[in-house]
Amino acid sequence: MLELKNVSAGYGTFQALFDVSLEVRAGEAVAVIGPNGAGKTSLLRVISKVIDLNGGEIAMEGVSLNDVPAHKIIEMGIAHVPEHRRLFPRLTVEENLKMGGFIASARSHFDERLAYVYELFPRMKERRHQLAGTMSGGEQQMCAIGRGLMSGPKLLLLDEPSAGLAPVIVQQVFDLVRRIREEGYTVLIVEQNIQQVLKVVDRAYLLEVGQIKMSGSSRELLENDDVRRAYIGL
């Protein structure tokens, strides 16, 4: 579904990604793991074209994204749930969700998708008139994911959905990711909570200093000695 070939990207003269190649097949859940500053966020940002692509190729369902601007990415079926959630803090929950279905093709499905998101997250329905910025971290994460679903995407990019949340809530977030998978979405997820994320995805890539160092099935990575030593602390 999504294919990256030798992608490089950065910020001004600083290069954050070097020759990254990866693939996400339809129906899969794939994780990108790696230490702080590895370039995981940059990877998702270049896929959604929030930062410029400096080299290589990105394609969604065979269509090149190289010349697609940021605001058209969502029309290709890619929804980005960004790091730190990036809700619109002074809009209500429902207005945030409304923005999730901003594109023309999503507007006619607004009511049905809103009902779907509320069914998935009854908490959001209770809170629908609350300003998004005043909700708890876990609630904000639900809202951010809900917002991502409002456009009816095929592929969901999740950037550290568990970051900054209490252990109980982290568990809930991973349960949520599992549910989203079951709903049939294809997921590309970035996480630092490696042990947890490897339990919900099929495959993973290990990213270090902007380069893919390893890839394989979740089990392979979980059983790899280097990964265990460096990231799981065993």
Binding site: A70, H71, L87, F88, R90, E95, M99, H129
Partner: protein, 339 residues
Amino acid sequence: MNIPMIIKAVGFLAVLSIPALGFSDYVLHIAISALLWGFIYTGWSVMGRFGLVSLGHGAFMGIGAYMVTMLWNHAGITPWIGIPVAVVVSMAVGFMIGFPCFRFRITGHYFALVTLALSEVVRLLIVALRDYTGGSLGVTPDSVISADTPNSFIAMQFSDKVTWFYIVVAVWVVGLLVWRAVDRSMIRYAMEAVSQEEDAAASLGVHVTRTKLIVTMISAGMTAVGGAIYGQYQLYINPETTSGIAISLQIVFAAIAGGMFVQLGPTVGAVITLLLTEGLRQTVGHDVHGLDVMIYGAMLVLFIIYMPRGVLGRVIEVFENRTGGTSGPTTQPRPQPGE
């Protein structure tokens, strides 16, 4: 009908009946000025409310006033054509200044500075082109009205204040309708999203540059109309009163002081500034040059710190808290002074 609508309806009827109440020309003049400036400030707030703080709206006002007068004086083109031309030119200038700013993400203070420069450029241009514009002495639209023919529709010159009053009321109402149309459109959500989280908005499909340009051009066009009507009404314009820093600051101050997040806020701002200038004029006269600008500046700072939603915004807020009404999904965003 709810209470705010009844208040609005009664208020509107009261405004309409002002000429019938037999006030002096002076009172009528103040009322016309309040509505005309209210219209201009409303135009500013169409973009200002989304964090696109322009310190350069004097430029658009100057373009409106001078384009129309120049076309009339030098080419005999009626303001009825001159105004649309001025609106188009003003929108084009808004585009030319906005496009590079938005494309290269010049926002907040830097955007304000760029626009500040724009308003001075327009003022200096008017002065420099003195052979055509009359320079800093100002210019009068060539008059076709006299005691025998007090009104000329073609020249858009009317000696009768009541006529002007109704013209300005119409313009003002159109301004409020434009404000409301923007308020109820997806553009409003898009702009609020952009002003709160620009990248996230882009990822949701908002064409950030284009959306900002749309509101900028609407705002620029409205302000040009305001400038043009101002010139026709006063039958005298000069660079200081239609463009430049002083007038730009006044626009910003009034819109913020009145409350840029509510439909009638900028109009309230117009009333406040008028009372302020008239008060100053009658107490200290014209002796201290630039005193009003200094006071605007100081008050602007105070308002941004203590009453960022403006007078009307604050009143509505207090009223809603009192009645326990949750403002629900229509809650206006809190302005962020730092944005």
